[in-house]
Symmetry: C2
Subunit: 367 residues, 2 copies
């Protein structure tokens, strides 16, 4: 890890310490992969094992990891003690030791599991849901992070272009997904979520690629995300095999209009739900073209989905430096789905697209 | 989904209902991907959204999913109501409705997060940690599940053979991992964890593949796992580039001996920690060859790591139908790591290997 990167993580730890103290917490315990990566530069492979970064308001703190991951935290900020626990422990006693003398501890309530929260509470620790505190630090990206997302988007764009250029009738859905995943990994992606769905399968935004073959008349909804150098890019484009049907063309026009409206709403100070509303009022006005099955999008960065979420229940105001996917869609059971997704930076003077791929509804040759 | 598979899931729901009632629970709420798959045949993509299977002791129950996943639960057992919540909800009100009138609810304490456990508790639900109850149902595989793990092992074996056959000095660690992942996905894997590490990188059992090139004299520790048809296989074999060093050969011999001892201990009734001890007493007796950094292994099935874990703190007795990875290793910072891993069925009359690949320390040509 470069000294610049290490300094960046050390600064983040101090920012978290100050915020935790200001919130009246004695300490903050970060447990999610991405928060640990944000604070230490090390992204764990958690499985069933406990990993935690402890930042105490009174100074100090620790990185708690299983013994077998001890070798990976050498570059963590020096203000954090290295605590490794053996296979004979579940890590809780070691974590408790780093919290000795403290009572009020902020946690990532959407990550720490009931078994661990109960164990800490049983030892007199008062847990405060404080995911938002760290999430709001992570949400405002610095210039280097913006460039990392832009780079990830560029790799995803190239994969989308190549996929549409190569697709022909007879292609098998799951093979196409495997092949684009391989292409993305060859380009350096450490994690990939390919979701390319054909025809009626695309009516399900979380459908699973299967053995279905591509046929003339199908829509293709291609949602690709990839993690490059620790940061994600996430884009969706659509195509039809042969000329677009009346439904596909009209749905695409409506979704494109909805996406433009939601992107335009991405300005500092706008509540997250307003961005959702900007697309929702457009897609929901056209029930004959399909259903609106999800919100406008989500923040993206170290995690492919991270808060704030652009959904009706989120009132968080957008802030400079946040990056969101904007991805309205229309889904019609028999016909499929049309979704358009870009990654958008909330800049001081308004939205900035981090991707450059045209929104075109691509026409795939039938032969 | 075939009617046979649906019937299997319906039976599992009834077994869970009976076990929950016997444990004095009013209901069981399963939230992990694999438990939801076990009970419904549907494996969710959770991200930040709530998914749950509710099984009430008094009959009935529900599958709770976000609206956009509604299309995927059509084949769930018919005794479970379908409950889909909109983007305006976090799913908790809908989950609470399925628990109306109940007070004591078992949960998967290693999966449900603090935010959700607190929300349920705030509505008067008493949560009981009961992961073990469902895990012990999942742990005893039926004959069809055993064959699914065997099939996954066969695919992993083929990938290991091919990888060792193709490896030559100059190969780049992360490219090799990407290529084997692609190979496994082309063979139908829906999820893959390749972990092929070169030389000193292999001294870290959870190291990350990087830009390092393979060099003469290196050890290669190749740990591959793949999920095929919903079930995982997970194997590790080692190689050296050119003739094995004295260290590599001796470490391999000790690890092979430790693996044989741990496999021999895989009999019904033996406490999990005894299986660990069988390998530990052999590897820990040779500190000059490296360190013992982890337990003997873990159960495997719908999840790549699932309980029981073969570690010093687990007293669970092994039972017929359980499947474990057995994977002792020795790790030496300068030299690398040697690990041997197979998947072993605990049959009535003793251990049965589900993999057939020889344990040989493969010699990779230097040119």
């Amino acid at each position: 890890m470069s000294p610049a990167a290490t300094a960046r993580e050390a600064e983040r730890v101090e920012r978290l310490r100050a915020e935790a103290a200001a919130a009246g917490l004695d300490a903050y315990v970060a447990t999610s992969d991405e928060s640990i990566a944000y604070l230490t530069g090390f992204r764990p492979l958690q499985l069933e094992r406990l990993f935690a970064v402890v930042v105490r308001a009174d100074g100090g703190g620790a990185v708690v990891v299983p013994r077998l991951d001890e070798g990976q935290i050498a570059d963590a900020p020096e203000t954090l003690a290295r605590v490794a626990y053996d296979a004979s422990s579940d890590g809780i006693p070691e974590l408790l030791e780093t919290l000795a003398g403290l009572s009020s501890v902020g946690v990532e309530e959407d990550h720490i599991v009931f078994a661990r929260s109960s164990a800490l509470q049983a030892h007199g620790i008062r847990l405060e849901p404080a995911g938002e505190l760290l999430a709001s630090l992570r949400a405002r990206k610095d210039a280097a992070e913006v460039e990392q997302v832009r780079r990830a988007c560029a790799v995803v764009e190239e994969a989308l272009r190549a996929t549409f250029a190569e697709l022909r009738p007879g292609a098998v859905e799951w093979e196409v997904n495997a092949s684009v995943e391989s292409r993305l990994r060859e380009r350096g992606a450490t994690d990939v979520h390919p979701l390319i769905l054909f025809g009626e399968n695309a009516a399900n935004p979380h459908g699973k690629p299967g053995p279905r073959e591509l046929r003339p008349g199908d829509v293709v909804c291609a949602d690709l995300s990839a993690c490059i150098g620790g940061y994600w890019g996430d884009l969706t484009r659509c195509a039809t095999v042969g000329p677009a049907s009346e439904w596909a063309r009209r749905a695409w026009e409506v979704v494109r209009e909805a996406q433009a409206a939601a992107i335009a709403a991405c300005r500092p100070g706008v509540p997250a739900r307003e961005v959702d509303l900007a697309q929702r009022r457009i897609v929901e006005a056209r029930p004959e073209l399909g259903r609106c099955l999800h919100g406008a999008g989500h923040a993206i960065g170290l995690a492919v989905h991270e808060p704030p979420f652009l959904v009706p229940r989120t009132s968080t105001p957008l802030a400079e430096g946040m990056i969101f996917t904007i991805e309205p869609g229309l889904y019609q059971p028999e016909s499929g789905g049309i979704r358009l997704e870009d990654d958008v930076l909330v800049a001081a003077d308004g939205p900035e697209l981090l991707s450059t791929l045209p929104l075109d509804l691509v026409e795939i040759p039938t032969t």
